[in-house]
Structures are given as C-alpha cells and as structure tokens.
Symmetry: D2
C-alpha cells in the first residue's frame, strides 16, 4: 500500500479523455493551437483576474523558470530551508538563473513567518559584496503539509515588496491548500501579493502538466524565451494544454484535492500524538520511532523516512486515487501500534 | 491542408493505447517504474548493442542535455550553420553547457562533408585563447530533408574522434532517415561512431516523447544530474516511457516514417525542377518563386517560407498522419503551376 | 626584435610613477579611495560628457562584463567573425552573459559595413525559437589594424538602435584609432551612438589597467554587481585607478599611440604590395609568402603568422616602446626581400 | 587610524622594486615570460612539493576559479556559513561553477569541526534530486582570525576525501596563519590533504597579486581555460608574477604577517574580556557594546561593525604597514574604556 508520493498516482479519467479529444486534426505546433490559446482565459477565470498561463512538463521547470524571471544571476532567493527548490531539484534555481544563491530560513511547520523573514531582509548586507535580495519563494501547501492563510501570504508578500523583492509561490499542491482553506484561489495568490506561481496539476490527477501563472504580466516575455531555451516549450503543446483545461474546467482540481485531504486527515487523527504537523493538505508527518515505523512497513505500507535519524520520522502522502481501504488499513495499523 | 511541420500531427492510436495501459496502479515516481525500467533493454535491442536510454519531453532538451555531457563550458560544438541547435532552440546549447560556443560550418544539402569538417578541426586555434573543440553534432535526417549514409557518418565521426571530439546525433527525424536508408539503426549510429543521440518520437507519432540514447556509457551519470536539474526528469515517468516502448515495439516508428517518406517523395517528383534538395525523409524544399508560392498558399496549402527572400523558397513537411488526398492535391497543384 | 604584440611592451615611466605616488597611506578598499573616485570625472572630461568609468584588470573582462550588461542569456551579439571576443577570449561572452550567442559577420579589412549589418538584423528570425538580437560589438581600432570613421560608427549604431540593439565598442586599441583619425574621442563613441565601451590602456603603456566606460548610465548598477561577482573588483583599487588617471592626464595615451602608429606606417610603406590592409593603427598585416616570411624570421624578427596557410601571411604589431632601430631594420629587411 | 581591512594597506617597497625590475624589455605576453615561468618552481620550493601556481588579480577570482575546477554545476560546496565565499563575493562560486550550491555549516570561532562536517556529509541526501557533494572549502586563517591546526585540516580533509569531495583552502591570509602556527606551509596544505588553494599576497604587502596553487595537478588544464575565459589571464603577466616571486623570495610574506599578528595580539590582550575569538592572525573581534564602540570611533579609530546588532561587536584588522603608534593608541583606548 503506497503512501510514498502523490507522483505515484495515475492520471484521472477526465485527463485522459481530454487528451483523446485533443487528438484530432493537424494544428500548429509550439502553442499556436486552440487548446493552448484558451489557457490564459481559463486561468484568468480561475483566478478572477487577467493572468498569463504557460504549460510546462515538470514542477522543477515551473519553479526555476519562474524564479529566473524574478532573480538576476547575482540575486538571493529567500525560502524555507527544506523547500523543494532547496533540497529536491538538484540546484535547478542556480542553473536557470545563472547562479542565484538561495538564502534559506527556518520555519515552524514549514511556514515562514513574518519575524524570520523580516529579520532576514533587514540583516542582509547591502553593497556589491553580497548577492542582492531578489525573490521570496513560498510553497503552498508547504513541504510539511501545512497551508499558509491568506493573511500570512499577504504579510510576507508585503515585507518582500517593501524590501524590493518579488514573490513566487510553489503551488505543486496548490489545489490541496485551497481545498483546505476553503478560500478563493485569488485569496492566497495575487490578492495577497504573489507575482508568479508554479501551478501544479500532475500530483493531483494530471498525466504530466504544470503551469507557470503570471500575475505580474511584465515578466512574460523574458519567461517565454527562457522556457524555449530550456527545452520546456512543448512542440505538441495541445496535449499539455488540454490536460490543464480539463483539470480546471471539470472541477477535478478541487474534487481530487478534497478527497486526498480528507483521507489524510483521517490518518492524522488515527496517528494521535505521533502527528508532527497539522494536516492541512494531503501529507501526514509522523514521529513513530524506529521500531514502530519498521513494523508499519512490514505490515505492507510504503512511505519515506523523513528527517534526521534515529528519530524514526515518516512522511505519508495520500494520492487523489488512493484506495479508501488502504487508508482504512493504515489508520487501523496506526491505532493498533 | 497543413504541410507546416510534423509537429502539427496527432499522436498514433498505438501511443494513446500505451498511455492508457500504463494508467493503472500506484508505481514509484521519477523513473523507478516498470515502464521506465524497460527502456534500456528495448533500446538496446533496437540498436543491437547495450545502451542507456532516458526519456525527456522535448527535442531541444534531448539535444542540449546530450551536448552538455560532451562539451565543457569552454567547448566548441561543430555543426551545420542551419542546424536546429543553432537556429531553432533559442541558444539552448549555450544555456545547458554553461556557455559553449557553436562553430558553424557550411554544408551541401544540409550534410556536412569530411573536407569541410577536417579543415575546420585543423584550423581551429589551439591554446587557451580559444574555445576547445569538444563535440560534432550531426542531424539525421538533416534539416534539409537529406540523410547521411553510414559511411559518411563513420568518416565524420572518425575525424572527430581523432581530433579529440565526441559525436552527437540529433535524431529528431531519425526514423525517417533509417526508413529511407534501409539500414539497421546501428549502421548510422554507434557502428559509425556516434557517442550519444537524441532519439525523436514526437514528430513521428508520439504524444510527447523523446529519448537521449547513450552509446558511450561513461556519460550517463553526468547526464542524469543535468536532466534532473533542468527539470526534465518527469515525475510520472511511466507515461513517457510507455510511449517510447510502444513506438519501438509496435513497429510504428518504421511504418509511420516510411509512409511519410513515400508521400514526400511523390511531392518531390511532382515538383520537378523546383526541387532544391533530394527527398530522403519527409521534408520537401522547393524553389517556387514568390508568385507561384503565393498561388499555392491561396489554393489552401499551408507551409513555411524558407531561405532568403525574395527567392521564393518553401519547406513542406509531411506528417505521419497526413491525408493522402491532401498530398494528391498538392502534387496536382504543383504539376499545374 | 619583437613585433608579436603590444602586450609584450613595458609600462610607461609615467604609469610607474603614478603607482608609486599612490603608494602612501591607508585608504579604503574596493574603490572608496581618492584615485578611484576621480575616475568618473577624468573620463567624463576626456569624453566631453558625463560618463561612469570602472577599472578592471583585463580587456577580456572589460569586453565580457560590458556585453553581459547589454545582452540577456538568450541574446545574440553581432560582431565581426574574427573579432577578439569571438576568437581570442575562450568564449568569455558566453560565460559572462550566461550563454548569449555570437552572430558573426564578414567584414572588409575588419570593418563591418552597414549593408552586411543591416541585412543580418533584417534576416534574423523573430519569435521565441531563436536568440534575440541584443548587442552590436565594434572593435576600434579593428582586429585588422583599421579604424572606423565617425560616420561609419554612427551609421552602424543607428541601425543597431533602430533594431533594438545596444552598441558596444571594444577599444583595446582605442587610443591608436583616435590618434589616427585625429578626431575627438567623443566623435567615435557616444556622439556616434556607442552605449558602453572597453577602454584599453594596457597595450598602450599601462602596467595592467583597462576601463569599462558607460555612456548609457542606466547599465551601471548591473555592471557593478557583475564585476564583483566575476572577481574583477580589485581590493586595492587605487593602483589601477592611478594608472588610468595618469594615462589620461599625462597625455601618454595620445603620445604613445601616435608614436606606434607612425612607426607602423613606416613598415606599411616599406612593405609595398605585400600590405593586406590599410595601416590605420599600430598593426601591419602582410602577405609575404611562406619563404619570405621565414627569411624575415631568420633575420631576427618575431611576429605571428596570420590567416589560413599556406598563404604566408603575417601580423606585425608595433608597441609604444618599440625601438626605432628595430623598425628601421624591419623596413630595410622588407625592402630588400 | 584605520583598522578597517588589510586591503587598505600600501604595497611593500620590495614589491614595487620587483615591478620596476620587471619593467625592462619586450617579453611574450600571457605568461610566456621569465617571471611567470619561474612561478611553479618558486612555489614548489615554498611548499616542498611539486605544485603548479597561477597568478590572478583578486582573491574572489582565486577562490571561485579553484572551486569551479572542483565542483560540477550540480555540485555542493561545503563551507562555514560566514565564509568569504558565502557572504563577500556576490555569489561568485555560483557564477564560476555554473550554479553550484553552497552548503553552509556553523563553526565555533570560524573553524569547522569534524563532527559538524562529518554529519553534514552523512546527512546529505544521495540520488539525483539533490546537488552532489563536491568540495569542502576551508579558510586559513579563518574569517574570525583563528587558524586551523595541521591535525584539524588533516582530519577534515580525510573526511572530505572519504566522502568523495575535494578540498579547497581559501588562503587570503595564509601567511598570517603560518606565521602564527610556526609550521611549514606544507603542514596545513598538501600534507594535510588540501587539493588546491587560493594563496593571498595582496592583503599582506603585494600591490595586487594572488595565486591559485594546485597540489592536485590533474586539475590544471581545466583551470587554465576557465581562467582565460573569466578574464583573469593577464596579458602583461610579468608584473603580477614578479610580485609573487618577490613576496616569497624576499621573505616579506613571513615578516609582514608576523608583524601584523604581533600587533593584533597586543590589541587582543588590551581588549581583555571583550575579546570574542582567539587572536591567531591579524584580526581582532571584540564585543564592546554599542556605547563603547561608538566612543572608540569618536576617538578616531576606523573599523567595521560586525555581527548582529545591537550587540555592539567590532572587527579590527591590522595591516602589515600599520603604524605601531596607532596600535599603541588603540590599546590605550581599549584599556581606558
């Protein structure tokens, strides 16, 4: 029973159906097709404001292409010290930006707070000897399965803007955060000051489709050239665009996220005192101890060890298509152990 | 009637079927899945030698990731001056390699010849003041729709190896070249000295799937890290791997290429004296003159202008799913005009 | 008798004296010293307009730092195909810019002409698939010892600006060009449309001192950060600044250049029909034939072979401190042979 | 009275004399001159082992060029979190390496210890998702004016080598460390496992001269090309080489360092309980409190605030040419306050 990652999931039937419907006729390549051309409109509708939205194949590409439009090569990108961009992308932000440096900050439950961020901005040395503060990157939902509240994003973004930085949101699990918060997608993005976001769909039911969404429209031309140059402009663009359209228009973004969140919350409740962080998305972090963790694995549950050993911590991720019976079995095993 | 590019085509039914068959069950992400794990074996079988094969989403990524494993930042990459890597990838080789410089050479009908390449190697300045010859990149089929013969590849690769360079093949239309030559895929690749190739499937019937194939296995680790870092390691890798497996195992690689080639040859014959280059793949280049070219467009044929104006040249590309009646109409229009 | 390069020369007494005069007292590092602080004023005086001037240690650094402020990573830099930036800097423009591509053009006697440049701009493909025209780089005096006239620079710069490009001048031998033209330094720089220049002093009498001079003052902040990051902000900045001040204020820039030019012209006259390019600076290019060239070398003259063999071409460079008797001997040898 | 930095000092008479002696005759450029050619020998003599030594103009260049030979673009460079390469070089390691990431570690008194480093290596994630441990950089003397003992360097280097990393030493104040330790230069470099070092001379009496010294000779070719490409191969190389030769052969490296160290120790003693770190080189770090620090400044002493406010910390650096009376005055002021 696989709780390793939501990347282990299948694609939604609605997504496959959309691909098949797009598979007719000869259309122009590289985005001049009817599907890709609808992206801006459908994303603008979703966010309730005019945006530009671009398809790419991976979250790493989305994050780093977005960050490269925000940071010069001599820029500093502020982020949580366990952020995906810091530890899971093999240095991609440095590659795409031409050498920008990450300025990594501690955070409670994965959420950066205003005091930490404000101090970091204030203490960052000025002058030509240091890298220049350029961007703040927030992950929503965070790497620890929590979600920033709209007011938190707004406060951090205001700090960033006042200090001359732009704000990026890594929304690989954005749908899970919005489903949990019960807010409008705008509330934790442009209305709160986000300039550009990585909008994830792959983990939540797409085949392979992510988007970069620009609320700050001045950055678009630079992005388009960087995307092409990085090999992330797909020739048969219609197939990724079709996935993104279906993802938003069919409502599966919310349905899938809400289902995974709900199952994750059941696991969190079953875990009781072992729970390390509030369950506000589809990830559950547990402090099981080494023996109990091993027993769970022996019982047939697959998941990743997490954090420093020998604490015996574990991360369990619920996918959109996770079988209810597996979650039930996991909850039972946790309650028993 | 669309003759703009083979990127305008749909995906083959066999490809869609393979994606659907892969859409079952939770499997590990990032390539630790049964489909991706079969790639090396199936590609080794295809090429008749042990290779390592890696899926990526675009041809630009395949080319530049491959070249970055062959060239240091201070390297020179020799290629035809109208090569796709030189004019159609927004400087991607420079980006992926950290600044390698292209050394661009003239070629007759898009095929570099030994005299030109040998002279370029011999005349390239030595010492630390110039970039260092690192790689030779050959496109097969070429950007002008011709195909290198096995002996030609072997001669160029030998020149390169003797001068200390590695050999890359841009095989975006590799199937078309092999179908035309009637040779074994090995004959124009590793047996002729190619070290690494970009293996295209997208233009010839895949949804979105390219591979980087290493005949020189020492380059693999460097590649894997560069791929991840560039955002080209797909999380749900199974869906691209499944396409590549179906592409090779079902035989559509050859069937589709042979069909497109045959239709292109009919166009070439119909074009008569207007034909600029031998038709050895699925592309036809014509010198129509501005008036005749405009008339063709008015008659409903879509294609790109090509070359310097006001010569009135045109490129017409036949896709794997091109309707025979459209080709028939085009031939008739060419014969008439 | 050494005619290899003006880099083989010593430093001028005035330069050494300036260094010694600067060698007193503790002053702030990294440019906050009285010598460095005078650079802007003295260069503004020299050019007759407000400029910002920055010291760096080498011409390669000056060129590439300047170009990196003009070109994004996906930019194209247009230059003569034998330009120093193209063949003698080991790919530095690609390194400093993050992968910009050189678009190399032919030129008669090393001087780009408006027709060639205009056509190149016009033919450069638009859209995201190609690198974006960003900068035109002119070398003054050129790599072939000729000098652009003010009207020529102005015409090329106007073409560039109209097409959205910025203009860089590689002035490694700028003094030689100005001495030959008899014009004001402004006439072939900002008045003619140059945005930023590499201002050479090393070849013409300095110890090791070059400057980057900005006529377009908006580029300065970006430059300062790139310079620091590239290790070209000198800690004991006063010693390079003192050289540049002495170079301009003592008048040696003109005296040294005029002397070298005059000696070079004598060689050009002695060479007669062997002369390949007009002598408009301190370099002489000769078509001697292999035998005569070898004889000259046997007679004790040191110089570089140039151009494709077996034509037997040679480049001879006169340094500011070249002994007159050596030039006399060379002229005699040329006349004899 | 200036205690800001040893970069504020003048150049030693021996250095200026060496430059003047080198200022005769025409010699080949770019390092093919008698001074540069002696560098390898004189540095090999200094270190008691065959080395290759290369002149560059700045310490930032020395550090980052060295690190770029040790780390691929996807590498991790481990260093003290306040290391010069981390906070004072505007991201230079990321620029020169093509995006390598710094992995920053805490240290007591600026000296990394084996436990911290060992844990960091052990905990660094494997696999393609993270940057790959590539180099460990140690600063000697450290940024906090302390010196690693030979056994400490050896222990750290062994950890690094066992984990597959190379070892770099930032020796901007190497002479001060060696003078303090009373050891042979070999004892804290190659004999202790250092692979390449940045060898500083500028702060300790040179005009502007640093060296990169390779104990691992396999890295040299890569370095030479990177140096040229970064604009750090000086055309009139003799003038920097002459400084480095004089620096070692005249013995000023030791004399100057010993003098500055001794004066710094007097300040440390005068500071008493305010001393933050042992004085093992020419830097003194004091915890004065804001009021006392301001008073010192009012009394005419120039220095940098250091560390987080409002602690009132200060860094005072003694230069090789610091006037004894200034140090005397400073000691008196500290004792009084």
């Amino acid at each position: 029973m696989r709780f390793l990652s939501d990347n282990t999931a299948t694609a939604c039937p609605e997504i496959l159906a959309a691909i098949e419907q797009a598979n007719h006729g000869l259309v122009r390549a590289y985005g001049d097709d009817p599907w890709t051309e609808r992206l801006d409109g459908v994303f603008s509708e979703h966010f309730g404001t005019p945006v530009r939205a671009f398809a790419v194949a991976t979250g790493t590409a989305a994050n780093s292409l977005a960050l490269a439009t925000l940071s010069p090569p001599y820029g500093a990108i502020f982020a949580y010290h366990e952020a995906h961009i810091a530890v899971d992308e093999c240095g991609a932000p440095g590659f795409f930006s031409g050498g920008a440096q990450l300025a990594l900050l501690p955070a409670s439950h994965g959420r950066l707070d205003a005091a930490t961020v404000g101090t970091a901005f204030a203490n960052h040395p000025r002058g030509v000897h240091g890298v220049q503060p350029a961007a703040l990157s927030l992950t929503q939902a965070t790497e620890l399965g929590t979600a920033y509240r709209p007011a938190e994003v707004a406060q951090l973004a205001e700090l960033a803007h006042r200090a001359g930085l732009k704000v990026h949101m890594d929304g690989a699990r954005f749908a899970n955060a919005v489903a949990f918060l019960g807010c409008h997608p705008a509330d934790v993005t442009w209305r709160a000051g986000v300039d550009v976001m990585s909008f994830g769909a792959t983990k939540n039911g797409a085949l392979t489709a992510e988007a970069v969404v620009f609320f700050d429209l001045t950055l678009v031309r630079d992005f388009e050239l960087r995307r092409k140059r990085a090999g992330h402009l797909l020739s048969k663009s219609r197939y990724v665009a079709a996935q993104l359209l279906a993802y938003l228009e069919s409502g599966i973004w919310k349905r899938n996220a809400a289902r995974a969140n709900a199952l994750a919350q059941r696991i969190g409740i079953a875990a009781g005192a072992a729970l390390l962080h509030p369950v506000e998305a589809n990830e559950v972090f547990l402090n099981l101890g080494v023996a109990r963790r091993a027993a769970l694995r022996t019982a047939g549950f697959d998941f990743y060890d997490w954090g420093p050993e020998p604490a015996g911590e574990a991360r369990l991720v619920v996918s959109w298509d996770q079988r209810e019976q597996d979650v039930h079995a996991l909850c039972a095993a946790l309650a028993r152990s």
